[in-house]
């Protein structure tokens, strides 16, 4: 085990070039995880700024802060960014960092594939954002309904960037999911049976399966759209006998599981945080896991609930409404299990815990409005209104973001050896929580009051201006909290209180390592005999770092895969091919050359089997 002095590094002065090369060629799941999280936080900021632009535009009636075209680009990029470039990668990043640690593994199953996923996410995101500088960003909403997305109605290249940028990040997601599935199924330390895996690991496993099965549908939808836009086909054109509704089916067959793809790991995060800060094991582990798997399955049978207004036969609509409502059962099971984990516990209200509790409280609201929307006639009134906007922000912001922020406070000490400042953390929490409710609670009323979503402006005299103004103030409150969060992270990285190996008295395996963990994670196979490997059930306490270390017999030699530049090369090749499809085929040919060079280098590299 590394000594304490090494474990708490003050950033050393190394040549910036060697640091850069180290990070660009790393295959260490922890460094890759950090880069995922940093990239995702960056895009969270970008998506947030887009949200602020939207809110400024809507602060009052008939405002002209943004041209309606720019407004459409903002709302499209806000949605696309938050889902694909913020929520998914931040969870992939946390998963990358902590799944191997939590199951006692040394790395992910395919370290280079892991790096490939990271670089595809970064380069694909940049490709998508290149659209702003190439004639216009995509402007048809994040679910991009045809035929508004066809060449006739969206003539600039924005939609092509959207298609290809998301295809590149989509490859990243599938690569990452395959890696998670193999890692979780195949690389557990001997004692980590399936029914002992931390709930977060379970949720990452289910989410990975959802990605593997849901993304192809999006890819097909996008391929057909790309052919329509650039090769003269008419898969979505009513003129040739096709139907634009095909897009909606293909998109939502992906799109609804996608909601659970981002929300299930968030459930997992909360299921790790709440028990530790209640000093009690998770209540109803088995029920929670089954509920997760059940949600995963049901999520594939509900997609048409996004399409109640397109004219489905009533019986079909009713069936989809009913199956959507069934999801409320496993969700309720989870909610009650979290609450009863706290029941009779000894609750420490740290910032992480505050975020986790507010997640539970807010997700309930999102769930209840979701049930209302599942009943078809009510959906006819409320779909495509601000009620829906409120609903999915309560599930995605209240669900995903709050739990991710909680996880940041929970795991920052493990990742960097220093705690985030708790007092500023609480200020961050108050601003986020109050701002969140100020922004999104009024939107319920706006939806009931007939305000459709995605309108760039609205008339005076409808009674919408006051609530919209409140929402705008709320959005800036969140922004203020976010600024504090960023400053807190930057300052704590250098000046935060040293955390020690296990500052929260956690009991999952990641707390058995030093903070930050050494490159090889564990000196040997960590022994696991229960769901809480660090918990001494006789003495009812968490093991000390010294006791934990004594349990592990060090391996004689540790094999770590060497760094590799080839994932970056292959990712660059794929992205350039994608860019070539947008600009000219010549660029695509260049991309193919780089891609093949990368593949050859990848296969030939020594040190991998």
């Amino acid at each position: 085990m590394a000594t304490r002095a090494e474990a708490l590094p003050v950033p050393r002065v190394a040549s910036w070039w060697s640091v850069l090369v180290d990070w660009l060629t790393t295959v260490d799941h922890k460094k890759i995880g950090i880069m995922y999280v940093v990239g995702a936080l960056f895009f969270l900021g970008v998506g947030g700024i887009e949200a602020l632009a939207i809110r400024v535009q809507l602060a009052g009636a008939e405002r002209a802060f943004l041209h309606p075209q720019t407004y459409n680009e903002m709302l499209t990029m806000h949605g696309t960014t938050m889902i694909f470039l913020a929520a998914m990668p931040i969870l992939a990043g946390l998963g990358n960092y902590f799944v191997p640690l939590m199951i006692g593994a040394r790395d992910m199953a395919f370290p280079r594939l892991n790096a490939l996923g990271l670089w595809l996410f970064i380069l694909g995101s940049l490709l998508l954002y290149l659209s702003f500088f190439s004639g216009g960003a995509p402007d048809a909403g994040w679910f991009a309904y045809a035929p508004l997305t066809t060449k006739t109605y969206s003539p600039h290249k924005g939609m092509d960037f959207w298609i290809l940028g998301l295809m590149v990040t989509g490859i990243a997601s599938i690569a990452g999911s395959i890696n998670f599935i193999v890692t979780i199924l195949n690389m557990r330390a001997p004692g980590v049976k399936l029914n002992r895996m931390p709930v977060f690991v379970w949720t990452m496993l289910v989410t990975s399966f959802l990605i593997v099965f849901a993304f192809p549908s999006l890819t097909v939808a996008q391929v057909l759209l790309f052919l329509d836009r650039n090769f003269g086909t008419g898969f979505y054109a009513a003129e040739v006998g096709a139907t634009p509704i095909l897009w909606q089916h293909l998109f939502w067959f992906f799109g609804h599981p996608e909601v659970y793809i981002v929300v299930l790991p968030a459930f997992g995060l909360v299921s790790e945080i709440i028990p530790v800060f209640s000093r009690k094991p998770i209540f109803g582990y088995t029920a929670l896991v089954y509920a997760t798997v059940a949600i995963g399955f049901i999520s594939f049978t509900v997609w048409a609930h996004h399409m109640f207004a397109v004219g489905l036969p009533p019986v079909v609509a009713y069936a989809f409404g009913a199956s959507s409502m069934i999801i409320a059962v496993p969700t309720a099971i989870k909610i009650f299990n979290w609450i009863f984990t706290m029941w009779k516990g000894s609750i420490r209200l740290t910032t992480a815990m505050l975020f986790a509790i507010s997640f539970v409280a807010m997700f309930v609201i999102g769930g209840l409005s979701g049930i209302m929307l599942a009943t078809v006639p009510v959906d006819w009134q409320l779909t495509d209104t601000y009620f829906v906007v409120a609903h999915f922000h309560y599930t995605l912001f209240g669900g995903v973001l709050l739990s991710v922020l909680g996880a940041c406070y929970y795991w920052f000490p493990k990742m960097f050896g220093r705690k985030l400042d708790e007092r500023w953390g609480k200020v961050h929490w108050v601003l986020t929580f109050v701002g969140f409710n100020m922004t999104f609670l009024p939107m319920h009323w706006l939806g009931l009051d007939g305000m459709p979503r995605r309108i760039a402006t609205y008339g005076a005299g409808l009674g919408w201006d006051v609530l919209n103004f409140v929402a705008t103030v709320g959005a800036f409150t969140i922004a203020a909290g976010t600024v504090i969060f960023i400053l807190n992270m930057v300052v704590s990285l250098w000046k935060g209180e040293p955390a020690g190996d296990n500052p929260w008295e956690g009991w999952t395996l990641e707390w058995a390592t030093s903070s930050p963990p050494p490159a090889h994670n564990f000196d040997g196979v960590p022994p696991v005999e229960s769901r809480r490997p660090l918990w001494n059930s006789h003495e009812k306490r968490v093991l000390t770092p010294a006791e934990v270390r004594a349990l592990i017999t060090p391996d004689e030699h540790v094999h770590l895969p060497p760094p590799s530049v080839w994932p970056l090369v292959v990712a660059a090749g794929i992205t350039i091919i994608a860019a070539g499809f947008i600009y000219t085929m010549f660029v695509a040919v260049l991309g193919v050359v780089i891609f093949l060079a990368g593949v050859v280098g990848w296969i030939q590299q020594e040190g991998y089997h």
């Binding site: 199953a109 395959i178 898969f235 139907t243 089997h609």
Partner: protein, 194 residues
């Protein structure tokens, strides 16, 4: 670390690469399933212009037979590798490649003939869905042939044997998958009247 050591070190006793590749194929299966569903949905709606009457069923049936036989050759390749039969390995791998290439060749011929007879990519819904579905399959076969050629070069260097046949196994998985997809596409596109 050799593949065999790795294999014993896994929780499920399955090689990582095979498990990972199975997962990948599951994703690919959904991809083709979606394309097939699109084809079926639009078959009923595409009534104007050149249609399925142009398809040469006997030729494609023969092509299907060739592709299925190539799967058998692939099985024999891996069997030879497991038994350390280098000559058999190279022979059957080459046969697999040749049959795969033959399949692609016939598909190119078929496309040219259809285009000549008026069924193009954009002529109607049938053209769009037909070329997209069979085209994506053809592209997969082509990638498979290239992959097998790369594997063949390694086989010539004697890199595969009873201790190291997992890469062949994985290539084989892909090849069988591509064949299996065609087993669905052939009746759905060529035989059934929707």
């Amino acid at each position: 670390m050799t593949a065999q050591v790795e294999k014993h070190g896994t929780t499920l006793g399955l090689d990582h690469r095979k498990l990972g590749f199975w997962t990948f194929l599951a994703s690919e299966a959904v991809f083709f399933m979606t394309l097939i569903v699109v084809f079926i949905i639009y078959s009923g709606r595409a009534t104007e212009g050149p249609g399925r009457e142009l398809l040469n069923i006997p030729l494609t049936a023969f092509n299907t037979f060739v592709l299925l036989t190539s799967s058998l050759a692939m099985v024999l390749t891996i069997d030879a590798a497991r038994r350390g039969n280098q000559r058999g390995l190279k022979f059957w791998l080459l046969m697999t490649i040749l049959m795969g290439a033959f399949f692609v060749g016939v598909q190119v011929y078929e496309y040219r003939k259809l285009i000549h007879e008026g069924l193009t990519f954009t002529s109607n819904l049938f053209g769009m869905t037909f070329y997209t579905l069979t085209g994506f399959h053809g592209a997969h076969v082509t990638v498979g042939v290239l992959w097998l050629i790369a594997t063949y070069i390694k086989a010539l260097q004697g890199k595969f044997g009873p201790d190291n046949y997992i890469p062949l196994d994985v290539a084989g998985l892909y090849w069988h998958f591509v064949d299996l997809v065609w087993v669905f596409i052939f009746p759905i596109v060529y035989l059934i009247r929707w």
